[in-house]
């Protein structure tokens, strides 16, 4: 349970709100339509394929639900998602295939 006065909870909410917005607004808001240098644009083109895999890799390999032990079912479902997405270039199909693989394997092996 949170043992904190209500005022402190609201202080945290307000500070996180302001801080998060500042992070999100930063480049988009303050640079306006200034043109970035080509080398910088080249780096930024790889933001999605750098940040999102780094975000999920530990969650797939060491899931919290299994107390951090690698889970063959989750690894197999992740492999199916990746393969279907890579081959079909279809994000929704890839997501559906990944979940189908997970629940099927969990039902058979679970």
């Amino acid at each position: 349970m949170i043992a904190m006065p209500a005022s402190e909870v609201w202080m945290i909410i307000a500070a996180l709100g302001v801080g998060t917005f500042a992070i999100r607004f930063s480049f988009l808001g303050l640079l306006g339509d200034q043109r970035l240098a080509p080398w910088m644009l080249r780096h930024l083109r790889y933001t999605a394929v750098a940040v999102l895999p780094a975000l999920i890799a530990p969650l797939i390999l060491w899931p919290e639900a299994t107390a951090g032990t690698p889970d063959p079912i989750r690894l197999a479902a992740a492999a199916v998602t990746l393969a279907v997405g890579y081959l079909t270039k279809n994000a929704v199909g890839s997501m559906v295939a990944g979940f189908a693989a997970f629940y099927t394997l969990a039902a058979i092996l679970g």
């Binding site: 945290i12 996180l16 808001g29 999605a48 780094a54 890579y86």
Partner: protein, 234 residues
């Protein structure tokens, strides 16, 4: 490049976002349940979800508050989780930077992993599209996500619903982002950036405040950029 009206771009963004909106709703539900069980009242739970509107950071903050962490640690940790959005902001700037201020403010408030990834895929597919088109697509993608996130949190807080463990909600987020990223692996440069990111994220997973993410992502972007410079970008 044919001229596409912003209105149809808005609709395309909206439709593209629907499957990911459905996937996001259980997390809103879960946050409502977890935050209520942690002792926050309905107004505080909704305050988090409306004011901060960043799922991973909200879970981090509530968890640390339950653990009795000092306020400063709560703030630093939750904001560190959101630092990746500064990179999204930078990546979106070349496309949306010239949009009117109200659109950039709205885009910032609704900057999620989903809106960014959808926008990036759209920019990759049509890099020459106009700013108005790109902004309309982005705002279209944000439109279903925001109310569903807020409403699902409210439902979770109100119902206190128990989410069955067999749903394996912990796994929904990785699968969703993996599905968004796999189609983007369209050149050696992209694949190498992703492999670098995964390797470094696993090596530096022990770092506090989720900093392993930044330590992994920045060099990965450099790897992608360098390979593109050498002609492996398509």
């Amino acid at each position: 490049m044919s001229i596409v009206r912003p209105k149809s771009a808005y609709f395309r963004g909206f439709v593209a976002s629907l499957p990911f909106t459905i996937m996001a709703s259980p997390f809103g539900l879960l946050f409502g349940v977890v935050a209520t069980e942690a002792g926050l009242n309905l107004l505080q739970v909704m305050g988090f979800t409306v004011v901060v509107i960043a799922g991973a950071a909200q879970f981090t903050a509530v968890q640390l508050m339950v653990d009795g962490a000092p306020t400063l640690v709560v703030l630093i940790s939750a904001l560190a989780v959101n630092l990746r959005m500064m990179m999204y902001s930078a990546a979106l700037q070349p496309h949306l930077g010239a949009a009117p201020l109200w659109q950039r403010v709205t885009a910032a408030y609704t900057m999620f992993d989903q809106t960014y990834a959808l926008a990036q895929a759209n920019h990759d597919a049509a890099p020459e599209a106009s700013v108005a088109y790109k902004a309309a697509f982005y705002l279209g993608a944000a439109t279903p996500l925001v109310p569903v996130w807020i409403l699902s949190t409210w439902l979770g807080a109100g119902l206190g619903a128990q989410i069955p463990e067999a749903w394996a909600l912990d796994f929904a987020m990785p699968i969703m982002f993996l599905a968004m990223i796999a189609p983007a692996l369209r050149s050696l440069a992209h694949v190498a950036a992703a492999v670098t990111a995964v390797s470094l994220a696993l090596i530096f997973a022990f770092l506090p405040f989720n900093l392993g993410l930044m330590v992994a992502a920045l060099p990965a972007m450099a790897v992608g950029a360098e390979l593109e410079r050498r002609g492996y970008g398509r």
